[in-house]
Each structure stands twice: as C-alpha cells, then as structure tokens.
Symmetry: C2
Subunit: 241 residues, 2 copies
C-alpha cells in the first residue's frame, strides 16, 4: 500500500472516530435529558419539592453539554469540511442538541410548577391523566433517541406520527382541568400549575418529533418537517414498495 | 494581476454574494414572522376570527422559508466549506431560522386561541396587560433582527438583558388572570385561552433572545447561551474598556 493511501486512511479513520464521538455525546445528552424528564414527572406526581429542586439544579449540566456538542459540530465543520451524509449527520446533531436542551428546559419548568404546587394546600388533581401523557411523551423521546442511535427511519416515522395522539390526549386532559376549575374554585391556583406542567409535557412530544424528523433527514436526505401526515404516510408506503 | 488571483477573487466575490443572500433571506423571513405576530396580536386584542384565520394560513409560507434557508445553509457548507466568521454566520443563520419558525408557530397558536375565544360569550379580559407584553416582545424581535442585520452586539446584548423584564411582566399578568378566574367563574374558559396566548407571547421573547445570542456568537465568537445576567454584564463592561 502506498504511503499516501495509508495517510488518507488514517485521516479518514480519525474523522469517523470524531463523528462517532459527536453522535455518542448527543446520545449521552439524550440519556441525561430522559433522566431529568423522568425525575420531573415523578416529582410532579408525588408533589415532591426536594426532587423538583434537584431537577432545577441538574439543568446546568444539560446546558453545558449543549454548548460542548455545538462546539464539537463547529470544529468538525471547520476542520473536516464534511460532505453528503457526514454533513447531514453534523447538522442533524446540531439541530437535535437544541431540542434536547429545550426538553431539559421543559423538565425544569415542570419542576418549578411542582415547587409552587407543594406550597399550596393539597387539592384535586388529574394524577392519572398526567401520568398517561408523561408515559407517552417519555416513550416518544426514548424512541426518537433510539432511532438516532440505530439510524432507524421506520421508528423515526412512528415517532412523528405518534405526536398527533399526544396532542389529542393533551386536549382531553386540558378539558378535564377546565371542568375541575369550574366545579371547585379553590382548586384554581393548583390547576393552573398542573396546566403549565401539562403544556410542558405536550411540548416534550413536539421536541421528540423534531429529533425524529432529523433522523429521517439524516438517513433519507429528505426534509420532512412541515409535511402533513398524509405526505408522510405516502413516504412510508413508497419505502415499503 | 495574475489570472489565478482574478479567479480566486471571482470565486470569493461569488461566495460573499451567497452569504449575503442567505443572510437577507433570514431577514426577509424575520420580516414575515414579525408581520404574522403583529396580525396575531391584533386579532387577539380585537377578537377578530377572520384575521386569526389568515395568520393560521400564513404560517405555511414561513415553514417553506425555513426549509429553503436551511437548504441554502447546507449547500454553502457543502460547496464552500466556510471557516471562521463565515462558518459562524452560516451556523447562526441555521439556528435562527428555527427560532423564527417557532415564533411563527406561536403566532399560529395565539391565532387558534383567538378563534376559540370568539366562539365564547364576551367576557372580562386583560386587554391592556396583553397589549403591553405584546408590544414588548414585538420590539425585542425587531431589535434582535436589527442587531442581526447590522451585526450590532450592543443591541443584541440589550435584547438578552430585556428578557428578564418580559418574564416579570408575564408573571404579573398571569397572577391577574388567576384572580380574574377566581372572582368570575364564568370567565374561566375564556381566561384559559388568554393564558395560552400570554404564554405564547412570553415564548416569543425567549426566541428573540435566542436570535440575539446568535448575533453575539457570530460577532464575538463567544457562545453566551446559558450565561447569567451577571456574566453577560461583565462581558458588556469588558467590551466598554
């Protein structure tokens, strides 16, 4: 083998290692965000102000990871000048860090609502309904990260299609919360905090969807953001043929 | 002049033209988003369902611009392999399109709440307070876009520092809305829609801040996201010296 080839192979091996490291850092950040979200939901359901506090403190680490991964992306773009699917990977990672960071923010917001809830006298709550929707968005986030790890487009498409269901669940719980406020005015302050937490959960579903859309872009080179469900379904069918 | 130099100069002239075009497209998208936000707020304050409907329809154009500008960014990264401040410009534009698109989404959400409000009997409202906070976030967005156009770091820092004020205004209006619900249970459904609109406005302030942070990153090469107000203030003072 020529020396030049060896050199190129060495460089390209290093480059691949850098891309892998960047992707792994994103998945690591994803794991931390999942953990924060899980803790925030537990704190909300158990009205646990101590746990809520630890979620607020934990957000700092997520923010730092966002900055580090974005810097990693810039460095790779500047030094390696990636093309084609390598470039799409860097861009998908850069967009996804933003969504992960915002999920971290939602976890913090949910924790803040919990702290305020624990300062109020105990009141009626939509415990079961909140639990259902939290489980749903947590599973969307897990699947979105999993689809990124395996570059699994089918799984990513499932996540995107799933978001409509979350939106439906959200509307239903919201209606129940409004009914609760009307029937029991003493509950109003508490219910408002539950409403914000609910909205935060719904947004987590949106961000998980954004990440899944980046996986589809990365693998297929197709930007599916803003596609209607029908357009996305045709894409699924076209792939199946 | 050597032919090679002329060629290089020609290429670099084209490259600069492409960067300028990309930046102008972002500012054009910003103008459209400002317009959508303005219409959404007017529709909300006047309870105008026709105008709300036109905001919902207008969101499509914003989504298309997001896709186009992101494609432009990818193309420049792939073909031109920009470095240093050129690379930062491309990345700042790519991050900012996301924020502009999300402001467009908030405008649509505000419009949807307006449509629901017009279906309810007229009720008490926080008209003046909502107007105040809308004016505030609209001006933050204008300043953020202006700072991007002129690469004006001082203006960008002002936008970032301004966000705390919006958060304070938001909390105050929220308290008033809760008091209103408690004193007049018939108003609850309407007030909940106003609360969502209010939250949408507060988020617009967050997104304007994100854009301003990108301007600071672009000009100074410093990533100021997640800096505390104190850290940002020291940055301002260090620049003044």
């Amino acid at each position: 083998m020529l020396q030049g080839d060896q050199h190129r192979q060495h460089i390209s091996g290093q480059f691949n290692a850098e891309l892998d490291a960047m992707k792994n850092h994103l998945l690591e950040m994803g794991g931390l965000v999942e953990q924060q979200l899980g803790l925030a939901v537990m704190a909300l359901l158990n009205r646990d102000s101590g746990q809520a506090e630890s979620v607020v403190l934990g957000d700092r680490q997520i923010n730092e990871m966002e900055l580090q991964i974005d810097e990693e992306c810039s460095r790779i773009l500047a030094r390696r000048q990636p093309a084609a699917s390598d470039l799409r990977l860097v861009l998908a990672v850069a967009k996804s860090t933003t969504d992960l960071e915002r999920i971290g923010d939602e976890a913090t917001r949910i924790a803040r609502q919990t702290t305020k809830l624990t300062e109020l006298p105990p009141s009626a709550s939509m415990f079961m309904e909140l639990r259902l929707i939290s489980d749903h968005v947590a599973s969307m986030l897990r699947e979105a990260l999993d689809s990124f790890a395996r570059l699994d487009v089918s799984k990513a498409i499932d996540v995107v299609l799933d978001d409509d269901k979350v939106d439906g669940e959200y509307e239903a719980v919201l209606e129940s919360l409004i009914t609760l406020m009307k029937s029991d005015t003493d509950s109003i302050s508490g219910v408002v905090h539950e409403m914000w937490a609910l909205r935060g959960l719904e947004r987590v579903g949106d961000h998980a969807t954004n990440i899944a859309e980046q996986v589809i872009y990365l693998v297929l080179g197709r930007d599916v953001r803003h596609m209607t469900t029908d357009e996305l379904q045709s894409l699924v069918e076209a792939r199946g043929q």
